[in-house]
Symmetry: C2
Subunit: 300 residues, 2 copies
């Protein structure tokens, strides 16, 4: 199948899904055209999903890979408290893969896109030795209201949505609900929007593991954090998986201690797991001792 035909196929899979009038022109030109509304900010993120790094063709079906590629970027939109608007998908694939692989990839991706109300407006296609996907997502927030990593203050409480370690446990066991959770992570869009409306002080998504991601939030905010041993650990997962396991895609956030945070947000349990400190800047302490950073680092 030629590139032109592949693009036509993807365009027809993606077409007439948008109910968003801010998208003036989508797939088919040199670039997509967006007409933003005044009074809003747009947020942008890009994320790779690479064969052998983030998935394997032996264990992940094309629709799973499409789902995951979009979910990773959407999770960043969730972390900013933003509402999804559009995405660009760049897909590199070995020429040996059949055209049906590409269709199934896009069907998996577009099913999640439909559910989260985001429009595929463009991207790139190329042949390569291995499968590589880069997804760029754009979201909108009311002007000045994006949730940043840099807003945590001394005395704030630290919270997480959902449970920790489930994805790492699924990856280790390849079985049951934890494995399905690993294959099909769910971006916490509704929770992110709810947290933005509550006005929490800082937020990020947990993609590389709590111990590494919380260090990043602390570094951006110029603070430290003390976390408690009572973490919301996913069923069957270990403490180690909860502290250091990647790809839970839950939201990690901070809020002033006087702010009332509901026990459930957008249907997800919310747990207070610690406190922001002015000392030990850029460091995390766990049960009174320094916590070693063992989350996923691409270059370690």
């Amino acid at each position: 199948m030629r590139e032109t035909e592949l693009v036509r196929k993807i365009r027809s899979l993606a077409s007439v899904r948008s109910r968003d009038r801010s998208i003036v022109r989508a797939i088919g030109d040199d670039a997509a055209v967006l007409r933003p509304r005044p009074g809003e900010d747009l947020v942008f993120t890009s994320d790779f999903v690479l064969e052998g790094r983030h998935f394997n063709v032996s264990t992940h079906r094309p629709a799973d890979i499409g789902h995951k590629a979009l979910a990773r970027s959407l999770s960043d939109l969730a972390a900013m408290g933003s509402e999804p608007v559009f995405c660009l998908v760049s897909l590199a694939i070995p020429a040996r893969l059949p055209p049906s692989w590409v269709s199934r990839f896009y069907k998996g991706l577009l099913a999640l896109a439909d559910r989260t109300n985001i429009t595929l407006v463009g991207g790139d296609l190329a042949s390569f030795d291995k499968i590589g996907v880069d997804v760029v997502c754009c979201g909108r927030v009311p002007r000045g209201k994006a949730l940043l990593r840099s807003g945590a203050k001394q005395g704030d409480r630290v919270y997480v949505t959902g449970e920790l370690g489930g994805s790492a446990h699924g990856f280790a066991t390849r079985r049951g609900a934890a494995w399905r959770r690993h294959l099909r992570p769910e971006p916490r869009i509704a929770a992110g929007i709810a947290l933005r409306k509550l006005g929490v002080s800082a937020c990020m998504d947990l993609s590389d593991g709590l111990s590494l991601d919380l260090v990043r939030l602390c570094a951006e905010s110029g603070v430290g954090a003390e976390i408690s041993p009572y973490l919301p650990i996913a069923r069957n997962a270990s403490l180690d998986e909860a502290l250091h396991g990647g790809e839970d895609y839950e939201l990690l956030f901070t809020a002033p201690s006087h702010m009332k945070i509901p026990g459930k947000i957008a249907g997800l349990p919310v747990t207070a797991i610690g406190t922001i400190t002015a000392s030990h800047v850029g460091k995390v302490r766990f049960a009174g001792r320094p916590l070693q950073t063992k989350g996923f680092d691409h270059f370690l």
Copy 2:
């Protein structure tokens, strides 16, 4: 070098370059934040640059690869008649490459970014078997003024900026000005903006070769095209390289026959190469005969 340190390094290379107050938040959070101006449209494009496909490490220095990765996306912004605003760069690299490779890559990319006034606001880093880069660019145009591929009408003249076949000739010979041209393509930003102000009817960039790209423009516009044998061929390049060679990154555009098109636009020669026809929709004829499409297709 850890991912966190790499990001810090890139952030410092990219920092305080932006004079664009519409960029509220750049590298360092889950996503970048943009505050668009009312009355303008934003255009978005993404382009892969992949090892073994678009470059080889034996012939391309890291700064060349950085330059080319950004140039490809900027060329799409030029084709829309837009002014560059910001870019996201996702870089996958083998862990064996030294940190200096990454710095030199970003220096090459950021030198072009500086010159074209575009701000690096984010992206992703990952380790992979081969080098892969995906660059997303955002540009702005006055509301409703983006140059599309779909505006060509019967009787319009077809034009190109600059010369054709130089990049393909450079790739074949690896020598002299043509090779330097291949290594460091120049996105036609100023020419694209000038064409938008003139109000030409359709425009795209020449990335995959005239014979293939003109077919794409014709298909989007629902027209055909007849091109003349008198093409502006780059020095030493062959007619075949001019007709089918990729990566010239010149602009291909159409304008009504009554519109006065200057012989030079933004310092580049402009040549009338043909006419839009109502017959042979989606086809190109050359010197009175059907022109075979031989441009670069990733999936042929």
